[in-house]
Symmetry: C2
Subunit: 140 residues, 2 copies
């Protein structure tokens, strides 16, 4: 493992994994500048992403690699990958084809957290559903 200064300011890739061996991946649509999703990667997922130019995550629920769009066709072509200071998170800058969210929204972040008059927190949908999810996964 690299020295702290090299990890934070150097050129050596030295990923800091969580207890499941994963880092956080934040995916940004290069055209709209929107964060479209947050997912996870292990080292091999990052290597596959860099080698293929296709966003490849580690699915925690299915315990397997997940090439984004392999089922829906809504692929993410990699334009750049950026890592944070302590090397536990990456940004994927992508060319997003179709909706990124499996619910048919362009971004998974289609709801705002708002306060009710009584001070509780609730959600308010702020973006249009672009595609019928049933149609997204049926078209294959």
């Amino acid at each position: 493992m690299a020295a702290p200064k090299e990890i934070e300011l150097g050129t050596t890739l030295s990923l800091k994994f969580d207890s499941n061996g994963l880092i956080t991946a934040v995916t940004v649509d290069a055209d709209t500048h929107e964060v479209v999703m947050v997912a996870f990667m292990n080292k091999e997922a990052l290597e596959k992403t860099m080698a293929t130019g296709k966003a490849t995550y580690w699915s925690r629920s299915r315990s397997k690699f997940w090439v984004k769009g392999e089922e829906s066709g809504n692929t993410q072509q990699i334009l750049g990958v950026y890592i944070d200071c302590d090397q536990d998170a990456v940004i994927l800058k992508v060319k997003q084809k179709g909706p990124a969210c499996h619910n048919g929204f362009h971004s998974c972040f289609y709801r705002e957290v708002v306060k009710t008059p009584a001070g509780a927190l609730e959600l308010k949908t702020i973006a249009p559903q672009e595609m019928d999810p049933a149609a997204m996964y049926a078209k294959k």
Copy 2:
């Protein structure tokens, strides 16, 4: 806990915590549209953030609430909070004062992951250091 459809498409806040009781927080500078950092929140951190309008995280390394900028002065005023489909991640849209990164860069993502001619992965700094970190924390 809310039903799956309500979690994904409804108005009920029903956070999905990881094994540490945390969700991922992705912070975006509203002026530059940049992702400036990725951190974590528990339920109380989200509630404090919504109540005070100041980005408040849960520090895993220090096991305490962390009001961004309380030491450096580089605060994050909340302009909006957005949640993803399965409610395990939020975006904080903020007015960022000064550098967000403790290393003095505007964003923590100041290095690109690139391939060497031999096919290995290394890091390349792509953004200027805006402030001397020693000065950031000495000014208090």
